[in-house]
């Protein structure tokens, strides 16, 4: 099993979710995150004092998948989340040793 972690732009989340569903992914876990990278942050002004806000809002998605789906899932995300502008995000894949469905105790493939 693999864990695919994707960090994407927030307004792309809905599209990515739909594409993943269409592909057959049945579940995922999402957290709000902030990204720091090449994409410039922005400047805020309060009473004439300027604040550099280096962090940008991102959506972080985690998806546990079968070994052989991992590449495709990464592909689907990459394709859907792409705008071509700096800051589109990253996707990375890590090995998982086991996964359990809490409700039933089913393991690995059966747990998805």
């Amino acid at each position: 099993m693999k864990l695919v972690t994707a960090v994407i732009k927030p307004h792309k989340w809905d599209e990515v979710r739909e594409a993943l569903e269409a592909f057959g992914v049945t579940g995922m876990t999402v957290t709000e995150a902030s990204g720091f990278g090449r994409q410039k942050g922005h400047t805020e002004v309060y009473r004439g004092a300027e604040y550099d806000v280096a962090l940008l809002p991102k959506i972080r998605v985690e998806i546990v998948v079968e070994d052989d789906s991992a590449g495709d899932v990464v592909g689907v995300i990459t394709k859907t989340a792409q705008t071509g502008r700096i800051g589109d995000g990253k996707v990375w894949v890590m090995p998982i040793e086991s996964v359990v469905r809490v409700r039933t105790g089913e393991r690995d493939s059966a747990a998805l």
């Binding site: 927030p10 307004h11 989340w13 809905d14 979710r17 739909e18 569903e21 999402v30 709000e32 809002p57 959506i59």
Partner: protein, 452 residues
């Protein structure tokens, strides 16, 4: 001729008191967890809507219609729908527009009902709450308002506490606070404890909201108390000053109690002390001197700060401490008139400490106990009847996951930076036809909906 200055003050006061109910909604709403803030606020807003209608229909008439027996009840039909009250003159040879008085008293009825809801946070069916509110106002509040606020005038006979017992309750320590507090206790018993009461933390989700609510309540309370002079006169001014200073003293006293007992003076304590002081000075603001008001406020602050812990000992889930603050504060304020009342104040009655003996004291106690008993017993009956028939409590699941979502299909806050991630409009019920179909708008993208 209409006394315009008095009318101006009465209308301003009525407006200020109306604002108290939204203020209460914030005060209460900030104190619950974020998953039930809307339901909490809705109990106040629901009362606001409902009682403003019932008051016009039969409330005013029950409270201020000619007495139909023993000072217990006004004639419900005399002014049904406020009939005949739109004429220009009120008293014989000129006086306040009756409608201004109708307005002022209406907002008292509204907030009294809303106050009760603090005892049943997070778990009451909204529909049942509305039914309860209507029945309770009709059989508990409107009659008690008659007892306390309906003074005999010419041929018109009023209520027994105002005219026979002669207890002093300037602005509603009995009719409003003891009444609401006793009813709150009854309902807390009827509905039972929240799941996790006294074990899970149920801490306030938004304290700035609570403090804003307290500020609005204080503001409105000047209308409540000083407005109860029904004139822009010296009595109103004395009531105003006492309302300020007793409240300040109560807030300080609550903070001091906390600091000594818990080691920290909290903002919730400041806000709670404010309300405790306001409650206690309500019956007494015309009867004590400003220094007496400081004393009275301080006593109320300490006692209420101690009383809010009672629910854990006695095991009733009065979620937002309506008993600890309104019942206890109302009792303190009402009874202390018997001690701290001074003939130099507008009410003109000396209490025990000012050489007046126990004469006024027993009247105060009888008034307080009567209202408390009537309210508690009748509320218990209404509450149980509703609980056994339509049901008063939501499903345990809905309580755990959050009553806002279950009952109102809403979430209080959506502060996520993401642009509404994961939410999609699936249907907009549209237009005068009432059909709930999907709009014909070409811009509508149906693939936006979830097929989970």
């Amino acid at each position: 001729m209409v006394p315009t200055g008095d009318t101006a003050w009465l209308l301003a006061s009525a407006s200020m008191v109306l604002l108290m109910t939204p203020g209460l909604a914030l005060f209460y709403g900030g104190m619950v967890r974020s998953k039930s803030v809307l339901n909490m606020m809705m109990m106040s807003f629901g009362a606001l809507g409902l009682i403003s209608v019932l008051w016009v229909l039969w409330g005013y008439s029950i409270a201020f219609g000619n007495d139909v027996g023993a000072g217990m009840l006004g004639d419900p039909f005399e002014f049904f729908g406020l009939r005949g009250l739109m004429e220009d003159l009120t008293s014989e040879e000129g006086g306040l527009p009756v409608m201004a008085f109708v307005a002022f008293q209406a907002v008292f009825a509204i907030i009294t009902v809303a106050l009760i809801s603090g005892a049943i946070a997070d778990r009451a069916k909204f529909g049942t709450w509305l039914i309860f509110a209507g029945i309770w106002a009709t059989v508990v509040y409107f009659p008690i308002a008659h007892w306390v606020f309906a003074f005999d005038a010419g041929d018109v006979v009023g209520g027994w506490i105002a005219n026979d017992l002669l207890a002093i309750d300037f602005a509603g320590g009995t009719a409003v606070h003891i009444n609401a507090g006793a009813a709150a206790l009854a309902l807390a018993i009827v509905l039972g404890k929240r799941k996790g009461f006294a074990r899970d933390p149920m801490r306030p989700h938004n304290l700035p909201l609570v403090m804003l609510g307290a500020g609005i309540l204080w503001f409105g309370w000047f209308g409540f108390n000083a407005g109860s002079a029904v004139a822009a006169d010296n009595t109103a001014a004395v009531a105003w000053v006492n309302t300020m200073t007793a409240t300040g003293a109560a807030s300080l006293a609550w903070l001091a109690t906390e600091k000594i007992r818990d080691g920290h003076a909290t903002s919730l304590g400041a806000a709670s002390g404010i309300v405790a002081g306001l409650v206690a000075i309500t019956p007494s603001c015309s009867a004590v001197s400003p220094v007496g008001a400081i004393l009275l406020g301080a006593i109320a602050g300490v006692l209420c700060a101690l009383a809010v812990g009672l629910k854990y000992r006695l095991g009733y889930d009065d979620s937002l401490d309506v008993v600890g603050v309104h019942l206890v504060g109302g009792l303190v304020g009402t009874i202390l008139v018997g001690f701290l009342g001074t003939a130099a104040a507008p009410a003109g009655v000396d209490g025990l400490f000012y050489g007046g003996g126990v004469d006024q004291l027993w009247r105060q106690v009888v008034g307080a106990v009567s209202v408390m008993t009537y309210s508690f017993v009748v509320t218990l009956i209404i509450g149980y009847l509703l609980h056994k028939t339509v049901g008063f409590r939501v499903d345990e699941d809905d309580e755990v996951s959050g009553i806002d979502l279950a009952v109102h299909a809403e979430t209080g806050y959506d502060l996520h930076v993401s642009t509404g991630a994961g939410r999609t409009l699936t249907g907009a019920t549209a237009g005068a036809t009432g059909s709930s179909g999907v709009g014909a708008d070409a811009d509508r993208q149906t693939e936006g909906s979830v097929k989970s």
